[in-house]
Amino acid sequence: MNFRGAKRWLLLGIALAILASYFSPQFNRYYLGVVIDVGIAIILATSLNLINGHTGQFSLGHAGFMAIGGYFSAWISLSVGESIQAFWYFPLSLCAGGVLAAAVGWLVGVPSLRLRGDYLAIVTLGFGEIIRVIAQNTEAVGAASGLKGIPKLTTLGWAFGFAVITVYAIATLVNSTYGRAFIAVHDDEIAAASHGVNTTRTKVVAFVTGAFFAGIAGGLYAHHKQFLSPTGFDWVKSIDIVVMVILGGMGRTGGVIAAAILLTLMPEFLREFSEYRMIIYSLLIILLMLLRPEGLFSFKTQRRSKS
């Protein structure tokens, strides 16, 4: 048994991210921007995958948690002044955003995770929308005008560093005895409960963990685009993330990452087609689903026991 393996990959990933960060000033700004978008999409999709894929609780409110993390860390950045120059400031503010998103995730999750299926989906969608409407009406974060002048702190290194951490965290979690409960809840709630799995707590943990990383992604997004507008976090954004998870194959980390990359790059590649690009994009989604309904990147592999 080699448990050290995973952590070694984590370190390698972070090292690569730091390396990439070192070279990033020489990169083309557009490509750099798109690649950071990809990194953020990976965080969003893998974290939602923990909730929707591994744990099987269909949530449609991920953009809401992203908004909380984004607004909170951006608000901190705009309030603290000088110290944002410090190296440690940025990860700390991202985590602060993540923690607030997680806290709200807990408040939302505890009552609503009793619901199942479509009911849960609509309630989480509702919470996401409520968060957006609150942002729209809060003067402290710019209300409808949006929050502007956010310092540009997101670099390739931070985006991919956090993407690596997110993937590591979720992959290791579901491959541990503790985290196997997520999959057990997904497979059969009653059987899981009968074998000592606290299903409610497991769902809430998945929800809170997912919300935490969504919050981080929101912070990265805020300091990448430098401008936050409440309309950017409506339910359509949540749907975008859900599409990534389902297209990648629910519960398959590798597939979901690939789908996040693909779906972020696709509209960019399709720019050439200007007014037809979103038509092609939606056609591709339909075709992909018709041809590969189990997810684009799922092959006839089974979840093996790792040891």
Partner: protein, 303 residues
């Protein structure tokens, strides 16, 4: 008091539209157990169909005549029923025995496809287009209260259609088959129910409802554009869940409730800016108290 009654009248007018859309959501959900995201786009297509056929019908039946109006409704409903069945046949049926989420994503894809195609300048374009008057509308003044003839029509149509749907589902052979498919698709197929046909029929019916709702909506707000269905679609979806999804009277109840709530909230300073959130707030509250919606039955999971 006048203020209160006027708001109640406004709310019923809006709620009737939501109710009608929710009815369509619930019909499809009842049989297939999946949320037809493209429903709101079928609504939009219904309005556009009416926009294009109305001038033609006007030539035959005369301007603003009741006969012409009914004909527009029938044509829009028929066209959309075909579109609905086509969508089901092409996009949903191949995934019938696949994970429900795959169908959900396909539905989202279909919805996006319709929206973006419709927005293309060569199709409808994104600019709002004026919707012709199908019926001469007038306002009825009762003291200080104003009731619009359109609202009366909408409420009437909604109630008639609810009764009709209820009758179809409960009293006809097709309805029995629909309920059988809803209960257990495999078993229904074994009992000789033509499952494909029944599902197709349900989609057609649901889409026809959406089209009628679309035309009524366009009469109420005569500027129609490709994204006109999104907002009422979402609200109606909330209404359907509120009433207990799959339950016909529940959908109508949910629709009216939501319409009333939004109207009252719209008129209160400090609350009108939260109007988008109010529908969801109420929904969450009710689901937490009654997890299967107002009129939905909670089922005990068999172990």
């Amino acid at each position: 008091m006048d203020w209160f009654l006027q708001q109640a009248i406004n709310g019923l007018g809006l709620g009737a539209i939501y109710a009608l859309i929710a009815l369509g959501y619930t019909m499809v959900y009842g049989v297939l157990r999946f949320i037809n995201f493209a429903h709101s786009d079928v609504l939009m297509l219904g309005a556009f169909t009416a926009l294009y056929v109305a001038p033609q019908i006007e030539k035959v039946a005369g301007a603003e005549s009741p006969v012409g109006c009914v004909m527009v409704f029938v044509v829009a409903a028929a066209v959309c029923a075909c579109i609905g069945m086509l969508i089901e046949r092409l996009a949903y049926r191949p995934l019938r025995n696949r994970p429900k989420l795959a169908v959900l994503i396909t539905a989202i894809g279909v919805s996006l496809l319709i929206e973006y195609t419709a927005q293309n300048e060569k199709v409808f374009g994104s600019a709002p287009q004026p919707f012709p008057k199908l019926l001469s509308d007038y306002e009825i003044n009762l003291g200080n209260l104003v009731v619009s003839s359109n609202d009366i029509l909408t409420v009437g149509v909604t109630i008639v259609l609810l009764v009709a749907m209820w009758w179809i589902v409960q009293k006809t052979r097709v309805g029995t088959a629909m309920r059988a498919v809803s209960y257990n698709q495999q078993a229904a197929a074994l009992m000789g129910v033509p499952v494909d046909k029944i599902i197709s029929f349900t989609f057609g019916l649901g889409s026809a409802l959406a089209a009628i709702a679309g035309v009524l909506y366009a009469m109420k707000a005569p500027g129609i554009e490709p994204l006109m269905g999104v907002q009422p679609g979402l609200r109606a979806f909330v209404a359907a869940v509120l009433g207990g999804i799959g339950n016909l009277p529940g959908a109508v109840l949910g629709g009216f409730l939501l319409g009333l709530l939004e109207t009252f909230a719209g008129g209160i300073p400090g609350l009108s800016n939260y109007r988008d959130a109010i529908a969801f707030g109420i929904l969450i509250l009710i689901l937490l108290l009654k997890p299967a919606g107002l009129l939905g039955r909670s089922t005990i999971e068999k172990v």
